[in-house]
Chain length 202, copies 2
């Protein structure tokens, strides 16, 4: 089974496969929260696969009632509301209950404390476990017969193969086509960088 | 969707479903290794779902090159060879590479250090990530149309539904019928105690 996009032309990829990516725990911040935590705006370190998104030089500590997670990645650019995306394993370390949400859907989610190198912030809400999802370009979505908002099955062609159900499809001309798993999901399927998935119909 | 065996008769359960269980990281020990670590044989604390298997009062620390895991469960009774079963998340904490194996299949697996309250042991081999598997009674296997050694799909009727592929079926009259997931897999499917799975044919 092909497990690298290098061996497939872009056209075949776009029609049949979706490259998988594992998203480590991370934080999105408002400009005000970035200023409170670091004393300055976010600093770009390197670009991520989604156009315009980047990993920042800054890191935060996420502080729960039972434990904390240090050196957690901060993703830029700044957003209208701060949000912390962790795995269920992380939730156990922190000693908190989280629900599984799509990024941005933070109604009725718990708050959490963040420490930066210049200060701390207590978010009133925004702690979530990310719901697995597939970013797609409009062209890839059309070729693969899905549309924004669909819930599909994603078969992972990985070392520990499995099929995720209820995977949210998100389509935008601002996206690159990648499926995003958290680290629990990545470990459960034995993910390695370059691994591919396939949307299964029916 | 039913997610508790309480609401289903045993007969329907046996024909259609398999109860899921999450196995935390754990250690099996030889009598000699138990003596070296604790100064005495293993002490039963409580029985597990598989007949004859039990959680012990004793705990060990698993020590890797990069980090360690403290208070790891020891399962009895003693076995002919010691074995340490961890998740891929745990492997990252320890700083080791592990392969995914069925319990007992420890050829060519890495060794690992264990600390007990009376001494330490360095295993020459036996560190594995458990391959997901279904324990079945002969009767349940017959009713569900599978046999020992089959690899099947297991659909998890859980909060984050998914279908594990390549799940090993193990049949014995010494077993109770349960599917065993590690904590990465349990978190990936949003497992809660009492959740059910279903063997999917074809």
């Amino acid at each position: 089974m092909a497990n690298s996009i290098d061996s497939l032309s872009g056209a075949i990829m776009e029609r049949l496969f979706v490259e998988l990516e594992a998203s480590a725990r991370h934080v999105h911040l408002t400009e005000a929260d970035a200023l409170a935590l670091f004393g300055h705006k976010l600093t770009r370190k390197r670009d991520l696969s989604q156009p315009g998104q980047y990993l920042c030089e800054e890191r935060v500590t996420v502080v729960g009632p039972k434990g904390s997670l240090s050196r957690v990645a901060v993703l830029g650019p700044e957003r209208p509301e701060s949000q912390v995306e962790i795995s269920l394993t992380d939730a156990r370390v922190l000693g908190v209950e989280v629900s599984v949400r799509l990024s941005g859907d933070i109604r009725d989610t718990p708050g959490i404390r963040l420490w930066g190198d210049r200060g701390e912030v207590t978010l009133a809400r925004g702690l979530v476990a990310a719901k697995r999802h597939i970013h797609m370009t409009p062209r890839a979505a059309q070729l693969q017969g899905v549309k924004h908002g669909d819930l599909v099955r994603l078969q992972c062609l990985t070392a520990r193969p499995l099929i995720f159900e209820d995977v949210a499809v998100r389509v935008s001309d601002k996206f690159a086509t990648y499926a995003h798993l958290d680290f629990d999901e990545a470990n459960a399927c034995g993910f390695r960088p370059g691994d591919l998935g396939r949307i299964v119909h029916g």
